[in-house]
Subunit: 111 residues, 2 copies
C-alpha cells in the first residue's frame, strides 16, 4: 500500500454515515447486508447511501455482490488490515500488535 491508497482508505472511513456502514458490516461479517437494508437501518436516503457505498468500495474497504436485484455489501478484511499495517509501519519494529493491548489466552483466529 502506498500513501495515496491510504489517504483514500482513511477518507472513505472519515464520514459518519460511512463509518457506521463499515462498523455494521464488521458485525455482520461474511453475511454482509444489502444496500436497501443499510439505507433503512442507518436512515440515509438511497441515493446518498449508494454514493457512500461507492466511496467505500472504491477505497477497497468493502466489496459488493449482486444476487438477483439485491446487491449485498460485505467488509473487505484485507482493506483494513493493509491500512493498519501502513499506519504503524515503522512503529514498534513494524509489529503494531506490540502496541495494542493483547490478551494471551485462546488465540483462535476468525479468518
Amino acid at each position: 500500500m502506498e500513501l495515496n491508497d491510504a489517504v483514500s482508505a482513511l477518507g472513505s472511513l472519515a464520514q459518519p454515515a460511512r463509518l457506521k456502514v463499515f462498523r455494521l458490516l464488521v458485525k455482520t461479517g461474511v453475511e454482509g447486508m444489502c444496500a436497501g437494508e443499510l439505507s433503512r437501518q442507518l436512515d440515509v436516503p438511497k441515493p446518498t447511501m449508494s454514493f457512500h457505498l461507492k466511496e467505500l468500495t472504491n477505497a477497497g474497504m468493502i466489496s459488493a455482490e449482486r444476487d438477483g436485484r439485491t446487491i449485498t455489501y460485505t467488509i473487505r478484511k484485507e482493506g483494513i488490515q493493509q491500512l493498519m499495517t501502513f499506519l504503524t509501519e515503522d512503529c514498534c519494529q513494524g509489529r503494531p500488535e506490540l502496541c495494542l493491548p493483547v490478551s494471551d489466552d485462546e488465540k483462535q483466529c476468525c479468518n
Copy 2:
C-alpha cells in the same frame, strides 16, 4: 472512543501532507520534530503546515510542546491505538491482533 472522535481522527489522517507528517513522527518517536523542520522536509509552506498540525493535534493524533521559540510535535500513541481498537471493535471477538499477521518470537514492547 465514540463515532465522532473516530471520524475526526480518520479525517486528520486522510490528507497527504498530514499523513506524511504522521508517518514522519512515527519514525522520529519520542524525539519528534519541530514545525519548521516539518515544513522544510515536506516542502509545505509554514501557514499550511501550521493548519495541518492543528488538525492532527485537535484530533489527538499528535501533541505539541514548546521549548523557547520552537514547538516540537510528537506522535501521540494512545491516539492511533484507540482508533485502531474502535475500527476493529466487533471483529475477531474484539481482538484485532488475531486478524493481523503476527510473528511469535521476541515480543519486547516499545511502550
